[in-house]
């Protein structure tokens, strides 16, 4: 069975990420973000959202363990700043209902949602510049970089929360990610 662990960055919705994966039928576990990456046996990693990058523990080290990684909200921002992109505060807080435009129909993570999708968000910061090798895959009126992908390295980020009930087609994002993780 495919096994995907969720690295807990103390987000309010972290447990819903675990639930979404459980409901999608994969083996999953919530893992403390101070856990040494070498102790993890998984086919994929979700970096959860959270209140503060200073409480992200060893999250960034999970980018190096050679399995697909999905960064959600803060998880995406950790991915961006660790790999050479830039994170800053947004001009407009992204809360609740946001309509996201998909920029890359072929993207393995969000391409299937094209042309647009309605999501639920909760963030003040956002990714301002992509890291090298990443493609800008989605945008919205309130946040320029809503999603980013590096399909070669199987690293994906979404600024919104696919795990909450109010995000339409959130399950699809997890299914797309699971497809990248399946052995």
């Amino acid at each position: 069975m495919t096994r995907i662990v969720v690295i807990d960055n103390h987000g309010q919705f972290t447990h819903l990420e675990q639930r979404a994966l459980r409901d999608a039928g994969v083996d999953t576990e919530l893992v403390d973000n101070d856990t040494p990456p070498e102790e993890i046996d998984a086919d994929g990693v979700v970096l959860s959202g959270g209140p503060d990058a200073d409480r992200a523990g060893r999250s960034a080290e999970f980018l190096d363990i050679d399995v697909p990684v999905l960064g959600i909200c803060l998880g995406m921002q950790i991915m961006a700043s660790e790999l050479g992109g830039r994170v800053g505060s947004g001009d407009y807080g992204g809360y609740a209902d946001v309509t996201v435009d998909i920029l890359d129909d072929d993207d393995p993570l969000v391409g299937s949602l094209a042309p647009e999708t309605r999501v639920w968000a909760s963030h003040a910061d956002e990714v301002k510049e992509l890291p090298d090798g990443f493609t800008h895959t989605a945008t919205s009126d309130v946040c320029g970089i809503e999603a980013m992908s590096d399909a070669d390295r199987d690293l994906y980020g979404v600024q919104w929360h696919p795990e909450v009930a109010h995000t339409e087609r959130g399950e699809e994002v997890f299914e797309n990610f699971i497809a990248r993780c399946e052995r």
Partner: protein
């Protein structure tokens, strides 16, 4: 989703094994979680369980009578009238987190007395999964987590629904044939109407909140909200029958949600909103205006405090 049949079987077996021939108590709030926990425990150990319901005076209209009714099959049910003691403890308290603490402490005192009186060795709690998460994350302190076990020296704590989400607890409630009113009941916060009045908790404000909540629940039934209620948020000027009124401002909130983690403010039609407004201002002399809250969660939470 949870497989209710095997869940109930396992939960009952677990409680039976854990508690054995000993006595157990549970604090019954009337909400789905503690009702399901109580029903499972009753199924497992029968009258070895004493359910205790504390009437804090912060309950919804008709709530206490409803509890007596629904749980009349449990002969051991105790209803404690603690109304005055709660209002005394809350006098002068305005900070929302302190309010929760004061209510939690008073509740523990009430419950401690009853628990000691029954000689219970075990505590059954209706803690569900998000309760544990929210308390760990520090967003809001939760009445089900911590507290009780620190003051009463129980041999063990049994939390039969600890791994379930709210929607799953409701599934179990239905499978247990708990009357629909419990299974479908809207979530109601542990501190009750105290967090539906901003600032100090007074008899007057709580009375307004209680009547207004009742109107909102009645009028919005057809919208099938996850949660619908009214809160007393401050004072404003009005004019009633040519007289100036400096009266309460009542905020109406109605949201749809799956699990309470995110919520969407419901779109209500104007006539419904006006009927709510009219009933609340018309039957409460001290209410000057009614407003509707259009904020989703996030950025707002569902309750006001």
């Amino acid at each position: 989703m949870v497989d209710t049949e095997s869940f109930i079987e396992d939960a009952v077996a677990e409680i039976r094994e854990e508690v054995g021939d000993a006595h157990a108590v549970i604090a019954l709030s009337g909400g789905v979680d503690s009702s399901v926990a109580a029903a499972l425990a009753y199924e497992a150990i029968g009258e070895q369980l004493t359910p205790v319901y504390v009437d804090t005076g912060l309950m919804r209209k008709g709530e206490t009578e409803g509890i007596r009714d629904i749980f009349s099959f449990m002969e051991s049910l105790r209803v404690v009238d603690a109304h005055e003691r709660f209002f005394d403890a809350l006098s002068g308290v305005v900070d929302p987190e302190v309010k929760r603490e004061v209510i939690g402490e008073q509740f523990i005192r009430e419950f401690e007395r009853e628990a000691k009186d029954t000689d219970a060795d075990y505590l059954v709690q209706g803690t569900i999964y998000p309760d544990r998460i929210e308390s760990e994350g520090g967003i809001k302190s939760h009445h089900n987590v911590g507290g009780l076990p620190d003051v009463v020296d129980f041999e063990g704590i049994v939390e039969p629904v600890r791994d379930l989400y709210k929607d799953e607890v409701r599934e179990v409630a239905r499978a247990l044939d708990l009357e629909e009113v419990v299974a479908e009941r809207m979530p109601f916060p542990g501190p009750g109407l105290a967090v539906r009045v901003i600032g100090e908790v007074t008899q007057e404000k709580v009375e307004v909140a209680r009547e207004a909540c009742h109107v909102v629940e009645e009028e919005l039934e057809e919208y099938d909200p996850w949660q619908a209620f009214a809160a007393v948020v401050g004072k404003g000027t009005g004019v009633k029958g040519d007289n100036r009124v400096h009266g309460w401002i009542v905020a109406v909130r109605s949201v749809e949600s799956r699990d309470g983690m995110t919520a969407r403010a419901q779109e209500l039609d104007w006539e419904t909103l006006q009927r709510i407004q009219s009933r609340i201002t018309g039957t409460n002399d001290n209410v000057a205006r009614v407003v509707y809250d259009v904020t989703h969660k996030p950025p707002a939470t569902i309750e006001y405090e």
